[in-house]
């Protein structure tokens, strides 16, 4: 069991290691992903890290042409829009992320409910703590999977 502090910073550090982590309440068992330090169900702050499988399905989505600064820098624009979505993980929690592998020029053909698998996108750099050296910043994403 990983003893990293239960912070957003740790969650981002896990992403750079290819791990999608939730926090699990030791008191009532509730799962929180994205992770948080206090259980919103039972108010306990006894939490531990738990890795998610990374499998889920699309709960809702949008196609964005006028994006955030981060996405503009990544080359997205009106002519090259991206998909942002909410993914329901197979373990239950929902999480926001960029959705890869969909045809953003035909949003009508993207279906809520399609299966997705975690993926990661590297953009820019950051350091986990001031003084530490900068590392590539990794963002969570999800990618469509071939349906059998």
């Amino acid at each position: 069991m990983d003893e990293r502090p239960i912070t957003i910073n740790s969650f981002e550090q896990f992403l750079t290691e290819g791990k999608l982590m939730a926090t699990k309440c030791r008191h009532c068992g509730a799962l929180w992903c994205p992770p948080r330090p206090v259980c919103n169900k039972c108010s306990s702050s006894e939490m531990e890290w738990q890795e998610m499988s990374g499998k889920g399905k699309l709960a809702t989505f949008t196609i964005i042409g006028v994006g955030t600064a981060l996405m503009l820098e990544a080359g997205y624009n009106r002519e090259n829009p991206y998909c942002a979505g909410i993914v329901e993980l197979e373990e239950g929690p929902k999480i926001s992320a960029q959705i890869l592998g969909v045809d953003t020029s035909n949003p009508e053909n993207i279906n809520i409910g399609i299966p997705l698998q975690k993926d990661f996108v590297q953009r820019g750099t950051f350091s986990f703590s001031s003084g530490l050296k900068k590392v590539p910043k990794v963002y969570l994403a999800f990618r469509t999977v071939e349906q059998k």
Binding site: T60, T62, I64, M71, A84, G85, K94, S96
Partner: protein
């Protein structure tokens, strides 16, 4: 829950004045100057007059002067500029619900017994930044670590809700667009609105522009066809297009609140605030539903309970239509219409028109009146004040005694909601 029974004010609160600046792109005016304009308009509305020196405290709702003007302490600057130096002046931020949250602080200030006469309002100067920076500024209303990091913009989150709504209920994008058409029809009658223009007016202007430029003149059959034209109504965040979104607006609004027992010193026709509720919520992904705003339901329930009334008693309402889908969710969350087709079609069927069974956003709403984020909630009270007193001019709700009304103000994508209920006795 033994400590959550009581939601009654120790002392009644009345609104005896209300005013707003012209909403729009207000070049050359800063936050405090917009607030002065609203303040002067408010002063003129107090039937028996108000001496500024009698106002004891000020609350100003504001989202982001820090971002748009690199300026903190906006409440203090507003106090200085309207002549309230020496009095307490506090900024209140609850994203796009900041204006009503400020009014709520004013209500508590009076109900607590600490003050008798207070000013509460909101202000936002938004047009200082280019579009891209404004998009990023508004995205700071989401959870930047957990929502914006995935690429979600602020319109993007509402678009995701719209998409989920249509997927769940099988309603059409046209249903949302009819909300915009209705609100522009109302805004055309509001001289303070950002767009004092109906969609038909806007179509006319676009045709004139095409003629002027020698371009081919579009031949739209009706408003819906115009709104379906990707050139004139481009996608912002699919399925939402430009005219599904409220504009980026500069503006201010404020109301004068006094203790119930002295209300008649200021006017023979005060408006009493009899219910007030507020709630916060999780990021969109953290909620059980994506097709409703749970915080608004909680806030509404609190307000109804405090007021001792129900949705059926409300004669008109100003609701938070930052995006067209937001009004559709609002009229269901408030209990006016059933969620799904009934709520989605209320605008198209005329039920929420000025002469409908439940007039919604007679001011033009955020969509047409404009959405200076920190001021919008306060501006809702200005419309309520005028409609309840029969002073709304060309957009006055016809043939109806508006003795009970409601405002519904949402912060960000539903992470906050404030609902308040007003009575004329």
């Amino acid at each position: 829950m033994p400590y959550q029974e009581k939601r009654k004010l120790g002392r009644g609160v009345a609104m005896v004045g209300a005013g707003m600046s012209k909403f729009g792109v207000r070049n050359g005016l800063s936050n405090r100057e917009l607030f002065v304009e609203a303040f002067e308009d408010m002063k003129a509305s107090v039937d028996k007059g108000i001496d500024t020196k009698d106002i004891e405290a000020l609350w100003v709702g504001n989202c982001g002067t820090e971002i748009w003007e690199s300026q903190l302490v906006v409440a203090v600057l507003c106090a200085q500029w309207i002549g309230m130096t020496g009095k307490p002046a506090t900024k209140v931020e609850a994203a796009c619900a900041s204006g009503s949250a400020a009014v709520r602080q004013g209500i508590m200030g009076i109900a607590s017994g600490m003050y008798d006469v207070v000013l509460a309002g909101g202000v936002e100067k938004m047009t200082t930044l280019p579009t891209n920076d404004t998009t990023t500024a508004l995205a700071s209303g989401t959870d930047i670590s957990y929502e914006a990091s995935g690429g979600f913009t602020f319109p993007g989150l509402y678009a995701a809700m719209a998409n989920a709504y249509m997927n769940e209920y099988g309603t059409k994008i046209e249903d949302f667009r009819k909300v915009g058409i209705k609100n522009h029809d109302n805004g055309a009658l509001n001289p303070n609105a950002h767009f004092s223009a109906s969609i038909t007016d806007i179509m006319g202007k676009q045709i004139a522009k095409c003629k002027e430029r020698g371009q081919s003149v579009p031949n739209w059959a009706d408003e819906l066809e115009f709104l379906d034209d990707p050139v004139f109504n481009p996608v912002i965040a699919w399925p939402m297009r430009l005219y599904d979104c409220s504009p980026v607006t500069d503006g201010a609004a404020c109301v004068l609140l006094v203790a119930e027992e002295i209300a008649k010193d200021f006017t023979d026709n005060p408006i009493y605030i009899i219910g007030s509720g507020q709630a916060c919520d999780e990021a969109l992904h953290g909620r059980d539903t994506l097709i409703s705003v749970p915080a608004a339901k909680i806030a509404a329930q609190q307000a109804y309970e405090m007021a001792g009334v129900g949705p059926q008693d409300v004669k008109m309402a100003e609701v938070h239509d930052c995006f067209t889908v937001a009004e559709v969710m609002a009229v269901a969350d408030l209990g006016f219409f059933r969620p799904g087709e009934e709520a989605a079609r209320a605008a198209g069927e005329g039920k929420t028109a000025r002469d409908g069974i439940k007039p919604i956003n007679t001011s033009g709403g955020l969509k047409s009146k404009g959405h200076p984020v920190g001021a919008s909630g306060a501006a809702q009270l200005v419309e309520i004040f005028r409609q309840m007193r029969g002073e709304a001019g060309g957009r006055q709700v016809p043939n109806r005694d508006i003795d009970l009304a409601l405002t519904h103000n949402v912060g960000a994508h539903g992470t906050t909601a404030v609902v308040q209920i007003y009575e004329r006795r």
